[in-house]
């Protein structure tokens, strides 16, 4: 029943991976909405972090094959499993995303000593006057 409902929604190939990719792209979109519309600098940074998580989860989606972890039991066996290349690559991106974030957050605290409300418009107007 559920399958027919999904196919009825439109001719687009409505399988699980397409739907998952749609949802993960919407995570990036929500993150971008936060970065553009939130006034407080910390909220902008949290929104940017959400965008980063969305982009990272896209990679994990591309490595998904029957949810089989890419760990090989015996030496020569060749059972089809998820693709390890994007997973290995995205481990690096998670750590890089975290370290950029850690640096940003610590230095925003230094900025908050001068601009307590951390409102980006007020900060930028400070030097336009």
């Amino acid at each position: 029943m559920f399958k027919t409902l999904l196919n009825y929604l439109g001719g687009v190939p409505l399988d699980v991976v397409f739907l998952a990719r749609l949802l993960l792209l919407s995570v990036i979109l929500i993150g971008l909405w936060g970065v553009l519309f939130k006034k407080n600098l910390i909220m902008k940074i949290i929104a940017m972090d959400i965008m980063n998580t969305g982009a990272i989860s896209l990679f994990v989606l591309s490595s998904w094959y029957r949810s089989k972890a890419p760990v090989i039991a015996e030496k020569g066996s060749s059972i089809p499993a998820s693709d390890p290349v994007p997973q290995a690559v995205i481990l690096t991106a998670i750590v890089v995303g975290f370290s950029v974030l850690a640096l940003l957050v610590v230095y925003v605290m230094d900025l908050s000593r001068y601009f307590h409300t951390l409102d980006t418009d007020r900060i930028q107007n400070r030097w336009k006057r």
Partner: protein
């Protein structure tokens, strides 16, 4: 050969960086042999002129490409670092700056030789962090804000680049740049936008005036000389390899050249003027992808020299400089740098500029000549600054100044393109530029709208430019 060059270009600077971090070293004299080693290695490889494509670490490893274009960028990297170190060699630098300089040098080399999309992502993020810390070292309040704005814009750009990598991998199954033609067009646009944020190209580079205006002169010299080129070098590779990017990048370059020159002409702050001219020179580099690296080395040299000289000025606004005049030890380097950037024949900028303008035809050629004229007009402001007495000529010929001058002249002599027609054309452009400056621009005070440089605007414009690319070039 591959292991030797990787270890010298990338691992040796990292080792020195870690040791300096542990020892808390503060004098940059120690790092000089490092830059010299890189430049010598790059020069030898350029003379040999062969190109090697290596895969590091087996089947799904990282791919590297050592061809003349990457060796030219590496040579520029070495020379700019030598010049900047010579000029700050006597000062006692802040605690973190020596290790950061060593690591920035290693990562910039890694970007120039890399041939793998994801590896470029990691290196450029690392350069983003290093540039953030560099801008932040002089802890004035405005620097805190401009460094945070730089990192946020850079990070959003890099998230777009990462999404582009995802679509690239899911279409072709590998991150190597050889598979670029098979990548869907939208993924190429995402990659181009991500790199143009870091390379300071067109609207995506609007963080440059804020970041340059605030950073110390040595930091701005590194920022403009090396860090901006780390965004531009992969863009050049992209334009050469992918047919889609080959149509997009020149158009972006054209827009960037014109936009940067217009804002440079009417700016009243010398550092902002240099920042806007970096945006426009990025356009010059990218307009002809095959010859881009030749112009990049000249731009890296004279732009970093100009920033170092501009750092010694008493004040940054042109009105004050016009009233007080500047001493000869600052006036001479500024004059030579401004002449070099406007394309004076013997001085570095001429060879590459005439080669690039020679290869263009039709509308792009006219627009680029206009941009060259605009550059001459905007730098006439520096050339016609009055000379105040009391400066001693001896200090004018400083160690780093001589080094820059020599490398600029050598650059033009070696890879020059001295067609007589071009010499006349360039001299005509520079003359016309000075005339227009004296007649019009020096009197009229036009205030261009700067509201576009707000944080939300830059981030939003990324997506507008992305949409324009999709509409104009089709998904």
């Amino acid at each position: 050969m591959v292991n030797l060059s990787v270890s010298i270009l990338v691992l040796l600077p990292f080792f020195c960086g870690v040791i300096l971090l542990a020892v808390k070293g503060r004098s940059s004299r120690v790092l000089l042999p490092l830059w010299v080693a890189t430049s010598v290695l790059a020069a030898i490889m350029l003379i040999k002129g062969d190109s090697v494509h290596a895969v590091l670490g087996g089947s799904y490893g990282v791919e590297l490409m050592f061809d003349p274009s990457s060796w030219t960028f590496v040579l520029m990297n070495g020379l700019v670092f030598i010049g900047v170190t010579l000029s700050v060699i006597k000062e006692r630098l802040p605690l973190l700056s020596c290790p950061l300089m060593a690591m920035l040098h290693g990562t910039a080399n890694a970007v120039f030789i890399s041939y793998d999309l994801f590896n470029i992502f990691i290196c450029i993020e690392f350069i983003g962090i290093l540039a953030f810390l560099f801008i932040r070292l002089g802890n004035r309040i405005r620097q805190i804000w401009s460094s945070i704005q730089y990192l946020i814009v850079g990070n959003v750009g890099m998230i777009l680049y990462l999404t582009g990598c995802f679509y690239g991998y899911s279409a072709t199954g590998s991150f190597s740049m050889e598979t670029l033609p098979a990548i869907p067009a939208i993924a190429i646009y995402l990659l181009v936008i991500g790199l143009s944020v870091k390379g300071g190209v067109f609207l995506a580079g609007l963080w440059l005036p804020e970041a340059h205006g605030e950073a110390e002169s040595a930091v701005s010299a590194l920022l403009s000389g090396v860090i901006v080129n780390c965004g531009i070098a992969p863009l050049l590779r992209l334009a050469e390899l992918s047919p889609v990017a080959a149509r997009v990048v020149p158009l972006l370059a054209l827009a960037s050249a014109i936009y940067g020159v217009i804002y440079a002409m009417f700016d009243k702050d010398i550092k902002k003027l240099l920042a806007y001219s970096t945006i426009s020179q990025a356009g010059f580099i990218l307009i002809v992808p095959a010859a881009g690296h030749l112009y990049a080395i000249s731009h890296g040299l004279f732009k970093s020299w100009l920033f170092l000289a501009a750092g010694k000025l008493p004040s940054r606004s042109f009105e004050q400089l016009k009233k007080e005049g500047i001493k000869v030890q600052v006036w001479l380097p500024l004059l030579i740098g401004a002449l070099a950037i406007s394309g004076m024949p013997v001085l570095g900028g001429f060879g590459a500029k005439s080669m690039i303008l020679g290869k263009l035809s039709g509308l792009p050629a006219i627009l680029m000549y206009m941009a060259a004229l605009g550059t001459a007009i905007s730098f006439a402001k520096i050339i016609f600054l009055p000379l105040a007495e009391g400066g001693d000529l001896a200090k004018a010929v400083s160690f780093s100044g001589a080094f820059y001058f020599l490398s600029l002249v050598l650059r033009d002599v070696i890879a020059g393109y001295f067609g007589v027609a071009f010499i006349l054309k360039t001299l005509f452009i520079i003359g016309a530029g000075w005339l227009i400056y004296l007649a019009i621009t020096s009197r009229r005070k036009i205030e261009l709208p700067k509201s576009v440089e707000g944080l939300d605007h830059i981030l939003g414009l990324l997506f507008v430019v992305l949409l324009l690319m999709i509409v104009v070039f089709g998904s």
